[in-house]
């Protein structure tokens, strides 16, 4: 059974702004990239306000840099807080990753060693963010392409410890589980064992691409592939009521294509 309170949504991308602004798109919520709307004014602010009139909005960040050892950027948090206060978001989320240190931003989601030291750093940063934002964060599992020898626990174990220490929720990216499991030669189903399921609030679905050396790359530029759909079924069986969305950031197709994919996500589990 699909829990009656599941929500199904799409990301707000530029080619589809007009349809969302008109309120014509049959989705339960819209997710936006937070940083695209942490601006002073103009069209981005007007678009978000217009979309918010029709849909609940989830704020999904890519530059909070929760893994940075020297702490978070207070100016970033203040600007995100102002945005969140303005739109009353469904969720505020960011990644289990770091993007830079000492004031530099690589704009890439960089991997962390899953060590006790990193756990303490990320937990401290999540505490800082949740205090600054006045609301809980959802933390997304990343796609990873390497493992550090310094890691002493698995990703699920690391996420479970963060949930226990900070009270944060989780945004589980099903594609990222698939990508990371493939890249590290692990069984994706085994990766689900350590996930603290009651903390999972949102799911992402996306399609990767194949890079050099046989690695899968989290590019969000293709439809959700069969292995991700299969894993999604397993995830949905374990998760409670969640908000599910298709995440597409490149080679963006017509909205009808994404709604067709979302219909697959809505389908009863046996058919998903």
């Amino acid at each position: 059974m699909i829990p009656p309170s599941c929500l199904f949504g799409l990301g707000l991308r530029r080619p589809h702004h007009a349809e969302f602004l008109a309120g014509r798109v049959k989705v339960d919520f819209v997710e936006v990239i937070s940083e695209n709307f942490m601006v002073d004014g103009g069209r981005p602010a007007a678009v978000l306000a217009g979309v918010r009139r029709h849909y609940p909005v989830a704020l999904h960040g890519v530059s909070m840099s929760l893994g940075t050892a020297t702490g978070l950027n207070p100016a970033y948090l203040a600007r995100l807080r102002a945005l969140a206060d303005a739109i009353d978001p469904l969720f505020v989320s960011d990644h289990l990753a770091w993007t830079g240190i000492d004031g530099v931003n690589s704009h890439d989601l960089l991997p962390l060693p899953y060590s006790e030291e990193a756990l303490a750093v990320v937990a401290r940063n999540i505490d800082q963010a949740q205090a600054a934002l006045g609301r809980p964060l959802l933390i997304e599992n990343p796609s990873t392409y390497l493992d550090f020898h310094a890691s002493c626990m698995g990703e699920g174990e690391f996420l479970a410890a963060l949930v226990a220490r900070t009270g944060c929720g989780l945004l589980l990216d099903v594609n990222n589980i698939h990508v990371s499991a493939h890249n590290h030669g692990r069984d994706p189903l085994a990766e689900l064992a350590a996930i603290p399921w009651p903390a999972v609030r949102q799911l992402h679905l996306a399609g990767p691409s194949r890079g050099h050396d046989g690695l899968l790359i989290d590019t969000h530029d293709s439809p959700v592939p069969a292995p991700v759909w299969a894993l999604y079924g397993e995830v949905r069986r374990r998760a409670g009521p969640v908000a599910v969305m298709i995440e597409r950031d490149d080679d963006i197709p017509p909205l009808t294509d994404l709604l067709d994919e979302l219909a697959l996500a809505r389908a009863p589990l046996a058919a998903a």
């Binding site: 002073d40 240190i101 530099v104 931003n105 690589s106 890439d108 060590s115 990873t144 390497l146 550090f148």
Partner: protein, 238 residues
């Protein structure tokens, strides 16, 4: 320094240098290091391509990418958004393409339009008709997002012509004004006298003395001021 901070500084230095081989002993699957080297550089180049779309079109993809890669290698991003990346890209192009000044001018125009796009929303312009405005002593400022670009070329005409019709670059020095009206960024080339007065006001000169120094007639200034107010281009200086 913590072990994690040291690791992150080494990782970041490797990303900026385009070589993470020094971290190979720290990781399993060292092929994954190359993914991050590529992604970090590609993100910056894509950011520039997005922020300087007309410059990209004018230069062509290969030439633009070569310049963007070179710029990215020496210019880390310090912002939480790539929309802020490239604030001195036009100056970089001016140094690297000295024989084609229209390239830097195009980039300056791309950047100004990008900046205006998400600038603070303007205050209502009815302040000018309120009673008691002391125009003689008034100090004005350009509205948020408005800027004056000193151009050496006809890049403003090239910008408008891209991508529909070819236009040859030419040396046509002048000043181009960029501003946002409601949600849309605009630009127009200014007559020299109007540009001089607007630049003096933007520099903080009082309205009366700036007008006197401009050499323009009252009729000219009245016409310009009417247009500036209609466009929401000037605001009282705080």
């Amino acid at each position: 320094m913590s072990g994690l901070a040291a690791l992150q500084r080494r990782f970041q230095a490797g990303l900026i240098a385009g070589d993470l081989a020094g971290l190979a002993a720290e990781v399993r699957h060292s092929a994954g290091l190359a993914v991050h080297v590529h992604a970090a550089r590609a993100m910056l180049v894509e950011g520039l391509a997005d922020n300087f779309a007309k410059t990209l079109h004018w230069l062509g993809g290969d030439a633009f990418t070569a310049l963007a890669l070179d710029y990215a290698a020496i210019t880390p991003s310090g912002s939480w958004t790539l929309a802020d990346y490239g604030d001195d890209f036009a100056e970089y192009l001016r140094r690297h393409c000295p024989d084609a000044p229209e390239v830097a001018d195009l980039a300056a125009l791309d950047w100004a339009l990008r900046t205006a796009f998400a600038a603070t929303d303007p205050v209502p312009s009815d302040w000018a008709s309120a009673p008691g405005v002391d125009w003689e002593r008034l100090r004005l400022a350009l509205a948020p997002g408005a800027t004056l670009i000193a151009m050496a070329s006809n890049a403003d005409a090239i910008w408008q012509a891209i991508p529909d019709r070819p236009i040859a670059p030419a040396a046509t020095p002048g000043v181009v004004l960029v501003w946002r009206q409601r949600l849309e960024p605009h630009f127009r080339r200014l007559p020299a006298a109007e540009a001089g007065l607007l630049a003096a006001l933007a520099d903080g000169l009082r309205f009366g003395p700036a007008c006197d120094a401009s050499g323009a007639t009252s009729q000219q200034i009245g016409g310009w001021l009417q247009a500036w107010l209609s466009d929401g281009l000037v605001v009282p200086r705080a």
